[in-house]
């Protein structure tokens, strides 16, 4: 009767485990289900979600760069040979009004455009936008030509100049390929519902969420207070929005 091979039994055990884990998810309190759009690991991402960030520059504390260090730590970016060649996924941009002297700072990373110029110019198809709006580089295909770096109006991308070792298992990175903020795609896929920079910000100036979900915190805050895109005139419809300036 039992015609299962050891492999079938092994697979059955694996499947059983994942079903039990899913059952655990549905038993969790409603707030959890509402906040984290848990997607089964075998289901492709879809355009039901559009992930984005909302950054409040009023809350962004002068001189703080905790989001940058958290990003570097999370994704395994280490200082190598100085700022001219070191990859940088988030930059702290300081803005000062010449007439009034008013100044503030804000983090600028890949803006995860709906119509990304980096994808338009990529000659190999390595630069692409996922269905859920996250713009990524497929390093398997990237040839390091850096057209995307030139096309990006936000200066968001970096080329890896050095041979790397001890990369994070969830964030493969290597010499000769271009990279930028992935919106912590490994965390998004895991259902964490946040990014390393948003978690690290002591002032909670960065909010991660689903722009397509009208009930999400990010959508409600955008509806209530509005939000600006950097270089909105380019019509790129960015996934990262700013408030406070």
């Amino acid at each position: 009767m039992n015609s299962e091979t050891p492999i079938d039994q092994y697979r059955r055990r694996l499947l059983g485990g994942s079903v039990a884990a899913l059952a655990g998810l549905t038993l969790a309190p409603g707030v959890f289900l509402q906040t984290v759009q848990a997607r089964p690991a075998d289901e492709p991402v879809s355009d039901r979600n559009r992930w984005g960030l909302l950054i409040d520059t009023n809350k962004c504390a002068d001189g703080c760069n905790r989001c940058v260090t958290a990003c570097n730590e999370e994704n395994g970016l280490k200082p190598m040979h100085g700022p001219t060649t070191d990859p940088q996924w988030i930059r702290i941009v300081k803005v000062k009004s010449k007439s009034t002297g008013y100044q503030f700072q804000m983090p600028v990373m890949c803006q995860h455009c709906e119509h990304p110029p980096c994808v338009d110019v990529c000659p190999t198809g390595a630069s692409f936008k996922r269905a859920d709006g996250i713009v990524l580089v497929d390093r398997h295909i990237c040839i390091g030509c850096r057209y995307c770096m030139m096309a990006c109006p936000y200066k968001a991308r970096s080329l890896v100049h050095e041979t790397l070792t001890d990369q994070k298992p969830y964030m493969p990175r290597g010499k000769g390929t271009v990279e930028s903020c992935t919106l912590c795609v490994h965390k998004v896929d895991r259902g964490d519902g946040t990014t390393a920079c948003a978690e690290a910000c002591p002032e909670q100036a960065i909010l991660f969420g689903d722009l397509n979900d009208s009930g999400s915190e990010i959508s409600r805050r955008l509806e209530q207070y509005g939000g600006r895109q950097l270089r909105a005139d380019l019509g790129l419809n960015t996934g990262v929005r700013y408030q406070g300036f």
Binding site: D138, P169, G174
Partner: protein, 169 residues
């Protein structure tokens, strides 16, 4: 004459059966050696995701297919995931040392070197199991209860890190 022939053939058959059972057992258990005599690390799991002869032939296609699914569609199942291969197959040798990619004792290198197929996965991908990072993440969670789901719920409901920071200020 016939008795001697019979006993010899019986002996040959016994040796054949014994060696067959040995090779079958060495697929998953105990340190085995490749064609060059390199020690291949013992995997952690009890069973590979595919039968040995199949995985030896098809692992490049499996990994390539999974690579595109993960990269472009965000499908992160454990089956045919390079990360899971590493988690299972990269283990310490008898002296407790874990070989790095490219070294003879590294699981992939042991075979790839003998067939002269260059392996460039590990120029980008980690050649280490992910457990070390997982442990680090759990330790930093202030409300760690050992259950990732509970941790996640807690961190979402009352973001303890942000609250403690506000108190400091």
């Amino acid at each position: 004459m016939t008795i001697r022939l019979l006993s010899r053939s019986l002996l040959t058959m016994a040796i054949l059966l014994w060696s067959l059972s040995l090779s079958a057992a060495s697929d998953f258990r105990g340190p085995s050696r490749d064609a060059n005599g390199n020690v291949v690390p013992t995997p952690k799991g009890e069973q590979c995701i595919r039968p040995t002869d199949e995985i030896r032939r098809t692992h490049p296609e499996l990994l390539l297919h999974k690579r595109d699914l993960t990269m472009h569609q965000g499908i992160r199942t454990k089956d045919a995931s390079l990360k899971e291969c590493i988690n299972c197959h990269v283990t310490p040798d008898s002296s407790g040392k874990v070989a790095r990619a490219g070294e003879p004792g590294f699981f992939c290198s042991s075979c790839h070197q003998s067939v002269s197929v260059k392996l460039d996965c590990f120029e980008c991908h980690s050649d280490r199991p992910e457990s070390a990072d997982g442990e680090r993440l759990r330790q930093t969670s202030p409300h760690s209860s050992g259950t990732p789901l509970v941790d996640r719920l807690l961190s979402l409901s009352n973001n303890p890190k942000a609250v403690s920071q506000q108190k400091v200020r």
